[in-house]
């Protein structure tokens, strides 16, 4: 029985104890506040405006700008949203309070990862994708196959996941917001310069969405044009592996941290 009758007792065990409760709480931040519709509104307006969907149909321009929208503008959005996701709770003591309840640290980190990942997937990636697809449908331009289009959205999700997991890891490693924002924002701003060097470029998600120097190609643009993306597989693989690595580091470090 719960000590406080207004609380609902949730049983659970193992390393994910408390996960469901924490996930509900994190999801509520997105879907039971104004956050979801503000994000939806913002990205809808930006998608229509940046891709010039109301003007003359220009598919290659729209595909290139879709890369800019997702690789630059939405990446900034991911960093802005994630910079405080963990740090605020570490600073104001909420993290310590939550962890004084029967909830494990991996559950705490993973609930944030899933809730924020889902929030961004829906309000940024899916929404922008649906708007673009609908506009192309209305304009009567040749559409990429649905599988190609879904793969393109998958590429964007991977790029966003990289910034999400990086910022989450940085928030675990540091308690200084300037350092967290400096690293993640600095990396994003430097990406254009760094990504043109092959060994470094493979490590960054920049080339997945934004058109490469002089090539005007990226997996996202190629998929939207119905082309294969075999040559980009190393970049995709490395970025995916980095996401896993960032989460593992975050979990490992957070488990040892004194809050």
């Amino acid at each position: 029985m719960a000590a406080n009758s207004t609380f609902e007792r949730v049983s659970g065990l193992g390393w994910l104890q408390g996960f469901e409760n924490l996930l509900s709480h994190e999801l509520a931040r997105w879907w039971k506040t104004r956050m979801w519709w503000i994000q939806c509104l913002l990205w809808s307006i930006l998608t229509v405006a940046l891709l010039n969907l109301g003007g003359e149909p220009d598919r290659s321009f729209a595909a290139m700008m879709f890369g800019q929208l997702t690789g630059v503008f939405q990446a900034v959005g991911v960093i802005v949203i994630m910079q405080g996701a963990l740090l605020d709770e570490k600073i104001d003591g909420r993290a310590a309070w939550i962890l004084s309840k029967p909830a494990t640290r991996p559950a705490y980190i993973l609930s944030k990862l899933i809730a924020y990942g889902l929030g961004m997937l829906v309000t940024m990636v899916l929404l922008s994708g649906v708007i673009l697809y609908t506009a192309w449908l209305i304009q009567g331009t040749t559409l990429p196959g649905p599988i190609h289009f879904l793969k393109a959205l998958g590429v964007i999700s991977l790029s966003h996941l990289w910034y999400l997991t990086l910022t989450l890891m940085l928030a675990v490693l540091f308690s200084n917001r300037i350092v967290i924002l400096g690293f993640s924002g600095g990396l994003l701003a430097l990406s254009d310069n760094l990504a043109r060097y092959t060994p470094v470029g493979v490590l960054l998600p920049w080339n997945l969405t934004v058109a490469g120097w002089g090539t005007e190609r990226s997996p996202l643009i190629d998929l939207l044009s119905g082309q294969p993306i075999d040559s980009f597989l190393p970049n995709l693989g490395v970025v995916a592996a980095e996401c896993v690595l960032f989460v593992l580091i975050a979990l490992l470090r957070f488990n040892r941290q004194e809050l």
């Binding site: 503008f73 917001r177 701003a189």
Partner: protein, 261 residues
């Protein structure tokens, strides 16, 4: 006599009461912590990297890269540093505590404005400028006259200053860090697009002061002053951006004076 012997009594009056003390405190955040040398080091390394990775090395490319890339990083740095300058103190109660002492709200805002401006000017702009100048010397070209170069840097400072005052104003107006960061960084990444959609905004945003847009005269922005180019065409933008900075500070002061902590 002060109630606490460890405290130093500082007399003052009027709307700037406590300004000296508050300025000392804000300056100490920059110059008595590792912040100054970390920021200086980061911007020295960044400038060196950016100047030398733009392709071929010559004086024209250095100026191009300086305006194109280094200036962008000054703005990113200003946004990162300023997002918490007022907001952090508001959230953790430092502002309320400081204002319970004999210090005015105006003094607090102006102390932050001056200390952060000085920090940004020195550790970002002057450090980057020094690296650029040394690169010119190493390259063996005739560098611009130091005074003219400093004058150009001073005008270029208006761009980060615009973002600095904007972020300060947003910190006074809003209590949501995500909104402050979103507006500041959103304006930075959207500036180029905004100007293509609404060309009449060209005088109101600092974007063209340092951009390499071909439509500029001279192409390359106010830094061309260092080489003796006339920057007459930039006068309206310079004046309007300076007025906006002033306006942002006034709005910050007005709002902060009405806020409850």
């Amino acid at each position: 006599m002060t109630a606490n012997r460890a405290l130093t009594l500082v007399t003052g009056h009027g709307w700037l009461r406590g300004f000296g003390n508050l300025l000392d405190n804000e300056l100490a955040r920059w110059w008595k912590t590792p912040l100054w040398w970390i920021v200086s080091l980061v911007y020295a390394a960044l400038t060196f990297f950016l100047l030398n990775t733009g392709g071929f090395r010559n004086e024209g490319m250095f100026v191009y890269r300086y305006k194109d890339s280094v200036a962008l990083f000054h703005t990113v740095g200003v946004i990162v540093l300023m997002q918490g300058a007022l907001m952090g103190d508001k959230k953790d109660g430092t502002v309320a505590w400081v204002l319970s002492k004999p210090a005015t709200r105006t003094a607090l805002i102006l102390a932050k404005l001056i200390a952060y401006s000085l920090g940004v000017l020195t550790t970002m702009l002057l450090v980057s400028g020094a690296v650029l100048y040394v690169e010119w010397l190493i390259l063996g070209t005739v560098p611009p006259k130091p005074l003219l170069f400093l004058k150009a840097l001073g005008l270029a400072f208006l761009s980060p200053m615009w973002y600095l005052t904007l972020m300060l104003m947003l910190g006074a107006l809003l209590d949501n860090r995500m909104a402050i960061l979103g507006i500041g960084s959103g304006l930075l990444v959207l500036s180029g697009k905004l100007l293509s959609w609404f060309p009449m905004l060209r005088y109101t945003l600092p974007w063209y002061l340092l951009s390499n847009a071909a439509t500029q005269d001279p192409a390359g922005g106010v830094m061309m002053l260092a080489f003796g180019w006339s920057i007459e065409h930039y006068t309206p933008t310079l004046v309007i951006v300076a007025v906006e900075c002033f306006l942002f500070v006034l709005v910050a002061l007005w709002r902060f004076n009405q806020d409850e902590f």
